[in-house]
Symmetry: C2
Subunit: 336 residues, 2 copies
């Protein structure tokens, strides 16, 4: 016996398919009596509506897609939760995709998502190249860009004020007395990486400190890269007395490198970082961090996308910038 369709239910209840549809979707008025007969038939047959057919007809799938760059990072899983909770409340499902910072994987996923007729896409772009957004727009799928800026394209965006976060972290280090400060960040092609450097430079310039070029290191947002960048920066003369890590993974990698070099944190080297979320898994949080509101970012991005879908968002593209607060802990102290 094949899977029952709306027609099977209709036949069994002695009504037309459309009536069953009305009962399922509570659209139009159906007499309590008929309604009950339909419900009974649904129950008896174990009928489950086919939402593929429904979506095809309605031209909407009640589904959002969320494309992130690294699902292993607790920072992103927190964003995921913010998105999911918000979508769920609005009756939307979420398809989650992971690009591993790869542009080609990103392209592949976006293609599939558009084909699957998702109603909207939340994208953490692998790079700041705006063409991908143009392409999605051409497919008439609404997009909200998350966490990272995109160049030269008008699009809804929700992100954190990375520059200010970095600025605050460096100010904190300066206040402790540091003058030689290094920064380890992600790829140049990722806006958050360069903005964090910009905030660093801003603070250093205000303090009238000459920044040594070896103090600024670009890599990737990974532990391995953090490890390597830290090793390199230790060889720079003059050697920094404090490091600003572009994210939590870089911080962990860097601290491993410092440990390998026999350096104590914060005794021999202060370390401050973005993204507090490693503390979920640490016995004793000790990293001084700029703590991005990950959950809120997910929430707001999803809310904005949903507003777009229902035509409730203002015509012009929104750019929401969330503030960052820093939390001082024991990984930063005065220089030797």
């Amino acid at each position: 016996m094949p899977v029952p369709t709306i027609r099977d239910v209709a036949k069994r209840a002695g009504v037309a398919p459309i009536t069953v549809s009305r009962v399922i979707n509570r659209s139009g008025n159906v007499s309590p009596d008929t309604s009950a007969r339909v419900e009974k038939a649904i129950e008896e047959l174990g009928y489950v509506p086919n939402s593929l057919a429904r979506s095809l007809r309605l031209k909407r799938s009640q589904t959002l897609a969320l494309v992130v760059t690294d699902i292993s990072n607790p920072f992103w899983t927190t964003v995921v939760r913010g998105v999911e909770d918000t979508a769920q409340d609005a009756g939307f499902s979420v398809i989650l995709c992971n690009t591993d910072e790869s542009e080609s994987k990103q392209e592949q996923y976006l293609d599939v998502l558009v084909q699957k007729q998702v109603d909207g896409i939340l994208l953490v772009p692998a790079t700041s190249d705006g063409r991908i957004v143009d392409w999605i727009h051409k497919q008439r799928t609404p997009v909200v860009i998350l966490d990272r800026a995109i160049e030269d394209v008008p699009v809804d965006m929700v992100r954190c004020d990375s520059q200010d976060g970095a600025y605050q972290l460096v100010q904190h280090l300066l206040a402790l007395g540091h003058r030689q400060i290094g920064v380890l960040t992600g790829s140049r092609r990722v806006s958050t990486a360069s903005e964090r450097v910009a905030g660093y430079i801003q603070a250093m310039e205000e303090a009238e400190i000459q920044v040594h070029e070896g103090w600024i290191r670009y890599g990737t947002f990974s532990q391995d890269s953090g490890y390597e960048m830290a090793q390199r920066i230790l060889e720079v003369d003059p050697r920094p007395t404090a490091l600003l890590a572009g994210n939590n993974f870089i911080a962990v990698g860097a601290m491993r490198a410092l440990r390998g070099a026999g350096l104590d944190v914060p005794g021999d080297m202060s370390v401050v970082s973005f993204d507090d979320l490693t503390s979920h898994l640490l016995i004793e949080p000790f990293l001084t961090v700029a703590d991005q509101p990950a959950y809120e970012m997910g929430q707001q991005a999803a809310a904005l996308l949903l507003a777009r879908l229902s035509g409730k968002a203002p015509e012009e593209h929104q750019e929401i910038l969330l503030p960052i607060q820093i939390t001082a802990r024991s990984s930063s102290g005065p220089p030797l």
Copy 2:
């Protein structure tokens, strides 16, 4: 201008829709000449196939669903990667869902997934109640159960040998000289939680140690629960000299509690645990653990499901049990 359909492409290329379909799917033979004209039309119109319509017609969506219980836990994100990589290679997309160990959320998700006509479901069951599997089977959707056993229902299953893992961990503690050993685990309704207790009891009985009832604590697989269970167990007389944590989150919570009580690990109390994955984010891994092959579990489960879908799996239900190895580190030492 509305989104172009296969008919628009056909018209522009001067062919029938089916010919366009054949070009897109490389099904049937099409002359290179026609094919080129079609490709051109597709390009010019920016045509993207509607896979909703395709799935409706073909009765398959090339989509799997993965339902996990806690996406914040790196253990699960690793499983996710194993599943995704395997699915991707076979041309399948994955819809990821997070139940937070809640049966009602689980039910809700499964309903949506069946409605969306996913081709198969990979489920980490919130509880060992077998009825949910019966329900999915009734919907004719293949399922593979991950990580946790389900009672009394014939179904494909891929999981790790929790009992043996716990047995090994306790043996390790016994070898160090511990006789009073406590165990902090998850909910009684979750098979892995109880299996880990079973392995503990097995090892203790073999060593002819009388297990004090206060030494076995059931809670949930969360940090808060670990914290609370650890606080309680410290009041038991005789107090354990070593603790076995049912997962990484419980271990972290427990260690925080020990720290709050002024106890040193492993000086005053040894701690061993399941799931090594916190180490990704730790500067210095120090927990003695039973390290479950998370990525492989995801891979194998996805592979099994895909084999089912293509009819390549053996008729009878498979139960794959992956071995667990323990890694001894500095969190465990001899008792005082």
